[in-house]
């Protein structure tokens, strides 16, 4: 792979950048959660040992502009968050009490970013989905809406 500067070579060698057209991952998993109440709150994700033991490569949020309904575990569906509501939410990837990455939903929303992924290389065991959470930082009323996060990961 050609490079244009020693800085870019360093960033590539240390895993800090990647060509945006590179293969993202070899599998995806959807993690979704229904918002139970209105108002400012932290919403923890359910545990997911499969993702905990996989290498995460990218995370995206799906709004109702791309997919109107998200799937509940019981087979029913709920309406996804609206595109306009994305600025009211922030996602934090964590492990134990450490916050690895804290990112507004708009950064993880691919249509907003002209299709670009939010790359995150987190090795198996370096993150814990059950310790990760979504913060509603705006006071909007979104009770009953489903948050659909798509994790792109590499199967071990």
């Amino acid at each position: 792979m050609g490079v244009v500067s020693s800085t870019e070579a360093y960033l590539l060698a240390t895993g800090k950048i990647r060509d945006y057209t590179d293969l993202v991952a070899n599998a995806t998993e959807v993690v979704s959660i229904v918002i139970a109440t209105n108002g400012v709150q932290d919403i923890y994700l359910s545990q997911n040992s499969m993702l905990d033991n996989s290498k995460l490569r990218a995370i995206e949020i799906v709004s109702n502009a791309e997919q109107i309904y998200g799937n509940n575990p019981d087979g029913t569906t709920s309406e996804n968050l609206t595109l306009a509501s994305l600025p009211d939410f922030v996602f934090t990837l964590g492990k134990d009490s450490e916050n690895i990455a804290r990112t507004p939903f708009t950064s993880m929303h691919r249509p907003t970013q002209n299709g670009k992924f939010y790359f995150i290389d987190s090795d198996a065991g370096s993150h814990r989905i059950g310790d990760s959470y979504i913060s509603q930082i705006g006071t909007g009323s979104y009770s009953g809406r489903i948050i659909t996060l798509r994790f792109w990961y590499n199967r071990i």
């Binding site: 960033l11 800090k16 060509d19 600025p87 708009t106 950064s107």
Partner: protein, 148 residues
């Protein structure tokens, strides 16, 4: 990807190692040319992180900060610049327009930096036009970093 003479240029985007939202508060009546230092974050402000990417947010991308403060609006962001200092006190990014750091303004690419040990609380935003900025508004950035 495209070719420029004999050099292969890649279109690289950031991979997040660690990220943290950092803020600078417009404290008091917004005043042209005044500098507003970044707020202290104890685990990032000990010259202990290498910054390699930065992203800014207006209220169009993030309605408020974790502390509940208003984020500066997209219209007001046109009157704000950003200066970043390293641990040698060099202003390696000087008066960069705030809007240039908003990811969606750059086709989804995060602004990449030559990795630097950063002095967080010496970095600042500066107002060059107060527009409708208000006391308490916050400039919000996502720092993409690795530990020293």
């Amino acid at each position: 990807m495209y070719f420029c003479e004999n050099i292969l240029l890649e279109m690289n985007n950031i991979i997040v190692k660690q990220s943290q939202l950092v803020t600078a508060t417009i404290d008091g009546t917004p005043t042209v040319n005044r500098r507003y230092k970044f707020n202290d974050i104890p685990n990032l402000s000990r010259n202990n992180i290498i910054l390699y990417g930065i992203e800014a947010y207006s209220a169009s991308q993030l309605t408020s900060t974790a502390s509940g403060a208003d984020v500066i609006s997209a219209a007001d962001s046109l009157g704000v610049t950003v200066t970043l200092k390293d641990n040698q006190n060099n202003e390696f990014i000087y008066q960069m327009p705030y809007t240039n750091l908003i990811r969606s303004n750059n086709g989804g690419f995060v602004i990449l930096l030559e990795p630097k040990v950063i002095n967080l609380t010496d970095c600042y935003v500066q107002i060059n036009n107060a527009l409708s900025l208000a006391d308490g508004d916050q400039a919000v950035f996502n720092f993409y970093y690795d530990f020293v």
